[in-house]
Point group: C2
Chain length 428, copies 2
Amino acid sequence: MLKTLEKKDENVAAVMRRLGEQARAAAHPLAIASSAAKNAALDAMAEAILHREEHILAANAIDMENGRKAGLADSFLDRLKLSSDRIRAMADGIRAIAALKDPIGDVIAEWDRPNGLHIERVRTPLGVIGVIYESRPNVTADAGALCIKAGNAVILRGGSDSVNSSAAIHACLVDGLASAGLPEEAIQLVPTTDRAAVGEMLKGLHGAIDVIIPRGGRRLVERVQTEARVPVFAHLEGICHVYVDRSARLDMATEIVVNAKMRRTGICGAAETLLVDRAVASTHLVPILDALAEAGCEIRADSETRALYSAARPAADADWVTEYLDAIISVKLVDGIGGAIDHVERFSSHHTEAIVAEDAAAVARFFNEIDSAILLHNASTQFADGGEFGMGAEIGIATGKMHARGPVGVEQLTSFKYRVRGSGQIRP
Amino acid sequence: MLKTLEKKDENVAAVMRRLGEQARAAAHPLAIASSAAKNAALDAMAEAILHREEHILAANAIDMENGRKAGLADSFLDRLKLSSDRIRAMADGIRAIAALKDPIGDVIAEWDRPNGLHIERVRTPLGVIGVIYESRPNVTADAGALCIKAGNAVILRGGSDSVNSSAAIHACLVDGLASAGLPEEAIQLVPTTDRAAVGEMLKGLHGAIDVIIPRGGRRLVERVQTEARVPVFAHLEGICHVYVDRSARLDMATEIVVNAKMRRTGICGAAETLLVDRAVASTHLVPILDALAEAGCEIRADSETRALYSAARPAADADWVTEYLDAIISVKLVDGIGGAIDHVERFSSHHTEAIVAEDAAAVARFFNEIDSAILLHNASTQFADGGEFGMGAEIGIATGKMHARGPVGVEQLTSFKYRVRGSGQIRP
């Protein structure tokens, strides 16, 4: 029922090279495809996914069975598992992407020159995007659909544990492309679980890949950053901070800290470190830590904090650079806004940081002097999300500073070019 | 008089590592420096360059003498040579950069969310920029000043033949920084001519360099693209095309083609290939080629063109992918706009292309289907220039699609971050 995923008679480099050539060839028709054609393809993909629910669940059952035999952790199996609900959510996600405004051809800026030339900067697709991800099979659908919406071809390399699920989903995406008259090769799924395929993608497949987007844990991202010879939208870990300034309202600070840490602990925008202004240690620290503890959070603190809150465990050096992704928080007293900035600039992964304060001067320094992708004032770090930003679906949060930063949505998957209109101008 | 450029007691990697650390440390104060401080530094740099003209000319005389002894080509020596005029132009260039609007802190976009969050996307510096260039010592001043204006620290690695000239100019830039109270380490000049230093820069100096900008010939750019482990603003060669459509006015086409090719043949926006619509071969081809020949241009053409214009030499396959940077043009007849698009997409370096046409449908296809950084309608390719675009000084024309594309001016040397203002919002 499933496609043969291994082509044992060919070596990985040759398979990948052909994949790259096919994606590159598909990129041009995709780049000039109409919005209507792209949206028709996306709607057909969603339709196909709903239609073939049983088939996808059967494929997923094989992956789950293999995963259990291989002794995968429960949390891993939970990410791998599909259900009717999750399949419906996948289809809804693709339809939401279809409903987004088409970014391609958008005039981002335009101006006239004294010599009469009219210059426009217009959005264009990036070309071919390589997405390398781990266990969640739904990334196949999300990433594929987002790339198509932005007029890009895409090469998807899912985790080896979700290979059957991803192949079943991929077949739906390809059918959607075909039904809208778009090239089927615009969404390629790497047909081998050989890890050498990732190496080939990171080398860029002889110029066929324009950018790599890794979506996964620290080890994947580190491999990508070490090996990639093409641009990468880096998604480092989220070591996110909440700083409670001396001017903070205690009730607001407490609500924001508890939400930033505990609403969902496993997302990259979850807070990992709480910094409290030493000036309000005596009034603010204990109530906030009590609320965290009551919500089930383990507290690891510096010695000063522990002197005021003895239930805290001692924090080790490693705690300031650890993304717990769990109900654990590190806590430190700092010397006002300056101390907070120093700590964040030293230990942050430059993902997302929040300040709780009423003092405009402290907020201005926080916003000006900290160079993280997302800075929030009097709001929870858990808003670090493309949907919450109003950008629609996202493929992740970029922590690098090149091209894309923060939520990577459909606009961030584009480039631009200049169109210059003249009436015979030559340069003197 | 000149600084000692070689530190023989240290290895190159150690020297470069320290350089990177110093630049990284300088990047933060530079990033939060006021516009006034940055502009004061730039003005003081220009002042210092004018003041020390004699000193700079003396250093340049040493480079010229060494260059002559080494048997460098005249064209190379011409690029290396400084004069009073060139020194004044350098100072004027820095002042023009000072006069540009400061991009840092600019709100690029802002919007409100239904939950009351107000989101701003604001420009930030990139961080530390590595610039690798060749013979022209004035790049030291241009690149240094542009990076400072955009709040970045910069590591400059000039050509080994211009080492004394670059050092003398660099000393003026450092004095300008110091006089405005900005860190002197914000503009570093690599103090060794060892080529291993370039290798260290391309490896990113242990995270100290955010982006590399190569400015030089094909060999330099190829080395950078092969070895770089950090993002690169690619500046490939400019294999620029002019397409003369059947709807073109002959007088306009002739003027534009001659200007695009012959105004200055050595710049990257100079045309290298002329494509003429077969439908107007009998009327347009000969007059245009006559005008080129009269202007002193050698013509290398396909056999069809030669049948109509016997003075042309035969074009070899290599001619379609050669950046002559000289008074030579390759010429081909094509099958209308579709044929022109096919040729350009196959052979272009995606720098700049122009169409001469009166037919709006042909122009629309040219603008839509060709994916080059700059597309022009009824205007010369020689307008491919940051100054001509109204962007002020530029550090080159990027042919890649990531982050910067087209002229790389002060705005292109920035990144952005999000500032989110709330009033206690937590995520449900």
